[in-house]
């Protein structure tokens, strides 16, 4: 069987994306997508009390995770952990079922969670959290496995954690950490993730890497836009903003962003009119904004919408998979907002504004 696979890969290296099993993965992912909660569920969930919501989640696809964690946790924490666990299991499954170039692209994308977990561990150590607390917050959806990550959180000091990561790409950034500059290191790690992704798809050869590159670059644009909005609105100096801007955007290249940086907020908003994202946000942005929640939800929404319309144009490619990853993350995010919001007795209107449906 192995010999046969070797032979088929050798004989047609370019034909189906260097031995990638697109048909299998996309069909499976589409079936997985059909298991996601439909959008009509959210208004229903909003009308339920916290007990009804917990019951609803217990009966949904998260059942197994809730059952397994029910011994250790209870209340809202249980569901938060169950959601995280489900996310980790689902994304690890995506890595496990894909082959070839597809596997490479998905793993690169899911490095986000490796960085998330490393940041969580460092943050936990920074504020002296217990090993259990740190372990609970880890989402091992990337390449680093849960046993490895929990062995990191068991280490006494941040130096030994960083030493344990010496073989990884994160080491050069992490070794700058001196126990105090955590936020700087976190920003560096995020930048590293996006530069890593851009270099992965720097010279896209196959059709799939091209699509993936477009997807990533749109995401970078959206990240940059929300950074710009947040910092401009808070009146941060342009040099400080420039440090946080990611390179490699699709419509907003670094040069164009540099032009936007010195402008005051109102002019900055007007100059966005020439970009395609304006269509989605034009109804919301004003020259003076108190809250950016609505804008950020709208940006995320437009990202998800463009991914799902793309996934119909390129059915046998990486796009449906990325679309699923976005939708799944969003679902977990929404459920968490509803649960946490209800538990904190927040006003329904506030919760509804935060949801991306």
């Amino acid at each position: 069987m192995g010999l046969l696979q070797k032979f088929t890969r050798k004989s047609s290296p370019k034909q189906s994306g260097s031995g990638s099993n697109y048909a299998y993965v996309t069909a499976r992912v589409r079936a997985m997508k059909s298991n996601l909660l439909p959008r009509e569920t959210y208004p229903r969930l909003m009308n339920m009390g916290i007990d009804e919501i917990t019951r609803f989640i217990e009966e949904s696809q998260y059942k197994q995770d809730v059952d397994e964690l029910a011994r250790t946790y209870d209340g809202v924490d249980l569901f938060e952990h169950a959601l995280n666990r489900n996310l980790a299991v689902t994304f690890t499954k995506l890595i496990n079922i894909s082959e070839g170039e597809l596997n490479y692209l998905i793993s690169e994308y899911l490095r986000k969670y490796d960085i998330w977990s490393i940041k969580t561990i460092l943050r936990g150590k920074y504020c002296d959290a217990s090993v259990e607390e740190i372990n609970d917050s880890i989402v091992s959806a990337g390449q680093l496995s849960y046993p490895f990550l929990s062995s990191l959180s068991e280490k006494e000091s941040y130096e030994s954690i960083i030493d344990a990561l010496s073989g990884t790409d994160y080491y050069p950034t992490l070794k700058e950490y001196d126990g105090t500059n955590l936020s700087e290191i976190e920003n560096q790690l995020d930048k590293l993730y996006y530069t890593g992704l851009s270099t992965t798809v720097d010279n896209p050869k196959s059709n799939d890497s091209k699509l993936f590159s477009k997807f990533i670059r749109t995401e970078i644009d959206i990240k940059n836009l929300s950074t710009l909005f947040r910092l401009k609105n808070a009146g941060v100096e342009k040099d400080e903003i420039a440090d946080l801007i990611l390179e490699g955007g699709l419509h907003l290249s670094i040069k164009e962003i540099e032009k936007l940086l010195p402008l005051p907020f109102s002019e900055f908003v007007q100059s966005l009119e020439k970009y395609p994202y304006w269509e989605d946000i034009s109804g919301i942005v004003k020259t003076e904004m108190d809250s950016l929640v609505e804008l950020e939800t709208q940006l995320t929404k437009s990202n998800i919408k463009s991914a799902s319309s793309f996934s119909h144009v390129y059915p046998l490619s990486i796009v449906p998979i990325m679309d699923y990853v976005l939708n799944k993350t969003n679902e977990v995010h929404n459920l968490r907002i509803i649960l946490r919001g209800k538990a904190a007795d927040l006003d329904e209107e506030i919760i509804r504004n935060q949801l991306v449906i």
Binding site: A23, Y24, A27, A31
Partner: protein, 77 residues
């Protein structure tokens, strides 16, 4: 000498070769077509078992190619 050999070739043999090619090539073609559909069907079924019926039907649709091949082979021989 060579000309004589061609003259003596049995037409039934050529027919048999044609029929063989018709079934063989169409069989390969259906195999190639079914490869991706089959793996997609398995993928969908792994997530949702109720798709078994649909998956099975879609997987065997390219089977028509080889049936046409078989019909042609029967017509030839």
């Amino acid at each position: 000498m060579a000309v004589e050999a061609v003259a003596y070739m049995d037409p039934a043999g050529l027919k048999a070769i044609g029929a063989g090619l018709a079934v063989g090539l169409t069989g390969l073609a259906s195999g190639i077509a079914e490869r991706d559909i089959g793996s997609a069907a398995i993928g969908a079924m792994a997530e949702n078992e109720s798709l078994f019926g649909k998956g099975l039907i879609l997987t065997v649709i390219p089977e028509t190619i080889v049936i046409f091949g078989l019909v042609v082979a029967l017509l030839i021989s």
